[in-house]
Amino acid sequence: MDAVKSFFKKVPIATLIIFGFWALILIVGFFLDFRMTSLFSDTIQRFGMWGLFVLAMVPSIQSGTGPNFALPIGVVTGLFAMVVSMDIGFIGFNLLIVSTVLAIVFGCLMGWGYGKLMNAVKGSEMAIATYTGFAATFFFSMIWLLYNTDNDFLGWFIGRGLRNFVSLTPFGTDQILDNFWQFEIFRSTNADGELIGGLVIPTGTLLVVLLACLLMWLFFRSKHGIAISAVGMNPMFAKATGLNADRSRVLANMISTVLAAVGIIVYAQSFGFMQLYDAPLMMAFPAVAAVLVGGATAQRSKVIHVIIGTILLQGLITNGPPVFGRLLEGADITDAVRMIVQNGIILYALAQMKGGGK
């Protein structure tokens, strides 16, 4: 009994609610004859797509800047890196590697500037971050419009500017990580004795995400990581230890921005498309919601919160629509449900916060 009690004390209520919802959807889905393996495959794929974005929340939260609502900055940076690599002519794994390297370089620069901005607006980081993310998205929309390319798969057939939806198939990068060492388990036969799909494990993508998680975990056990945590927990304590709080915050936001930039590359290959223009606009919110669902607060977060939160929230968001769709027979309220859940979570989590920006 005590063990149960202490479990409920440790696990935040938001986590339990989302877990409950997801479980409910899976149960309903089971009775509606959904294939469980298919539902779980979707969840795992989405975990791979969102993992790095959610992980990007950890350093910014730990440094006291709060969740990185300016995630679109990193996203557009990553998109820019991809566009440049594609335009040069890289394809396949080369495209993946070159764009990742460029994303890291550009991400460091953007993250540095963004970190400086966050230091200048202490106390209202989250609001400013949100609008900075919006501004970055639209600034890059102009760049996409003005970008001149000869690559027909990248640009419009007529005139200047990039397409808003770029397929990665011609570049050979479509699901390239997902398919790397991919395997399927729990395959079964249907009534007619035909083999049907089991649980698909996108090994390459999962490895990238889990490796990043491991590195993040290690980083927060290193001297610099510990310093960042201390700055976030108690800036005066950090100051009394001779730490440069502003520098730690900039470093944390650089890491966060780089993760977002690399994250969009992983996301795009899994999705099979690269979306430009206003697509990155709202990307921060599901990521923030996920880390909060996982048990983080706006002041404290751990890698484990990322893993739990991403699985739960993405499970709910990906499995909800099809199940609801069949349950309500055509009434297309699934997207509304998704929006309510996602934004409700953010609202709930932010309402739990104490004080202003810190």
């Binding site: 290690l218 310093a227 005066m236 230890t241 001779g242």
Partner: protein, 535 residues
């Protein structure tokens, strides 16, 4: 003498079991200036909070005893009640609106509306607050109040840009303008004033007293008290000690009463210990911009291996010294450690020079409350000196844990394990963790500020014994800042008293209470006070 205007009868007050006032009796007559003096925590503020019916008193269960005004018991439940009884207060922080004129500030919320037809129509539609104001009459009232204080300044001057001294007068004028003002409380009114401004204020106080207003004068400046008051009441540790006619007493006697006999307790060895002649730390003209603990030109020398105490009343700047040297608050001046100039405002460099610091703000600065004991203990050493790390800059969890375990044993930290979060520990054990963190740096010089604040008696002794042991056995030089004179006297070799941001003097731990009291009040030229502590 005439009937008492105000009387406190056997007033006691405790906050959650902690008694801060014990059977205090206090009375004041009309037209009297009655000084109230005591160390920090003696109960002055609590008395004034009771007098003004502050919520902090009533929300914690009220008080015992009774308060009488003009012979009748009164029940003051809020500051408004106090105002209605003719009690006014001038706060240490000015509550003035800079963009308003002096007259407007004096009349604020008591404005006089014009009586005319338009106004009556307006107010019947929109309510009383829409009436236009009779500035002429307000200015006249303000003039009267200012004249009572011998202030010649025009009442239509903006408060913005007035010298501090004038602002104080505007505050007082606002209080005495209130009809039926009988009792005025001045809380450390001269603390922010220059000497000539203070002089004027004292003069104004006397003239108010002649006009029949009783004044409670709270101050730590003994000379002013002797100068201006009719009677003086001394409080110590929440107890009434004495009420004397000022003409029958002296600064020395008041100082002695204020400090009491507690000074000479609990010293296990003699005060005289052969101190090294070498200077460990030399501080010249140190200014520190720490809010409310500002150091204004401190000159101090710390000898190798000694425990130097820094004492003084709150707000005088004693805490600013350590905070300034450690770079927590902006500082300027010259600090030389062991012949080497220390860079100021550079915490990391100072920590690298094997100087450690235990802050007075345990929970605010001293600890990461959501982190375990072991990470707290090694934090500074790891960040500053790069210890407790292994390959790739990762923390060496095993070494950290082992070190913390040893510290838990050495310092007798009472905890479930070294993994317990420091936020869950008691104050004394939290303090031991802070000390443990400082010791992990293996410092040559240790600054400890308010090491026993908010700690129970048993833990206090442990902490003090520990400091003594570090000094005697390891030859560590310790600078201990404390508001508790008794604890300074119990382990320090010399005690520097800080008054108004400067070193008022250095005393031996066995100096007389009067010497300490006088020095804390800034009187250093009396014959009975001698410079230097070690004979």
């Amino acid at each position: 003498m005439s009937q008492n205007l105000l009387e406190f009868k056997n007033v006691s007050k405790s906050y959650s079991g902690n008694q801060v006032l014990k059977n205090v009796n206090f009375d004041i007559r009309p037209g009297e200036i009655h000084a109230l003096i005591g160390e920090n925590g003696a109960g002055k503020s609590t008395m004034m909070n009771i007098l003004f019916g502050m919520p902090v008193i009533h929300s914690t269960g009220g008080f015992e005893g009774s308060v009488e005004m003009e012979g009748k018991p009164v029940n003051i439940m809020s500051p408004f009640d106090a105002m209605a009884h003719g009690i006014g207060m001038v706060h240490q922080e000015f509550m003035l609106i800079p963009g308003f004129t002096i007259a407007e500030n004096i009349k604020i919320n008591r404005e006089i509306p014009k009586e005319n037809a338009l106004n009556n129509v307006m107010s019947s539609i929109f309510g009383k607050r829409m009436k236009t104001l009779d500035f002429k009459k307000m200015n006249q009232d303000a003039r009267v109040a200012l004249d009572r204080l011998d202030m010649t300044i025009e009442e239509y001057t903006l408060v913005q840009g007035l010298p501090i001294g004038f602002m104080q007068f505007v505050e007082i004028a606002r209080e005495i303008d209130k009809t039926g003002m009988k009792l005025l409380v001045l809380d450390e009114p001269t603390a922010v004033l220059t000497e000539s401004e203070a002089e004027r204020l004292l003069k104004a106080m006397r003239s108010l007293a002649v006009q029949g207003i009783a004044i409670v004068f709270i101050s730590h400046r003994l000379d002013e008290i002797i100068n201006v008051s009719d009677r003086v009441t001394v409080l110590r540790d929440g107890e009434w000690v004495a009420t004397k006619d000022t003409k029958d007493t002296s600064a020395i006697e008041i100082a002695e009463l204020m400090i009491g006999r507690k000074v000479s307790i609990e010293r296990e060895e003699g005060a005289e210990r052969e101190l090294s002649k070498d200077i460990m730390l030399s501080i010249k003209d140190l200014h520190v911009a720490m809010p409310s603990e500002r150091a204004r030109g401190v000159d101090l020398e710390v000898r190798k291996g000694e425990i130097l105490g820094i004492g003084g009343l709150a707000g005088q700047g004693k805490l600013g010294i350590a905070n300034g040297i450690m770079g927590i608050y902006p500082a300027k001046g010259e600090v030389v450690l062991d012949g080497k100039k220390l860079p100021l405002n550079n915490t990391k460099q100072v920590l690298k020079e094997s100087v450690a610091y235990v802050s007075e703000d345990r929970k605010g600065i001293g600890l990461l409350l959501d982190e375990p004991i072991d990470s707290n203990i090694v934090f500074t050493d790891m960040q500053v000196n790069g210890n407790f790390l292994k390959a790739f800059g990762l923390q060496d969890s095993k070494a950290i844990s082992e070190h913390a375990k040893q510290m838990v044993i050495d310092l007798d930290i009472r905890c479930t394990s070294e993994k317990q979060h420091t936020g869950r520990l008691s104050g004394g054990n939290q303090q031991k963790v802070c000390v443990g963190r400082a010791l992990t740096q293996k410092p040559n010089l240790l600054f400890v500020s308010e090491p026993t604040r908010g700690i129970d008696i048993g833990a206090k002794k442990l902490i003090l014994d520990l400091l003594l042991k570090l000094s005697r056995e390891q030859g560590m030089t310790i600078v201990m800042t404390s508001s508790e004179l008794a604890e300074l006297c119990s382990i320090c070799d010399r005690i520097a008293i800080i008054c108004e941001g400067k070193v008022a003097g250095i005393l031996a731990p066995n100096a007389s209470p009067a010497e300490f009291g006088l020095m804390m009040s800034g009187i250093t030229d009396t014959d009975s006070v001698k410079e230097g502590g070690v004979s």
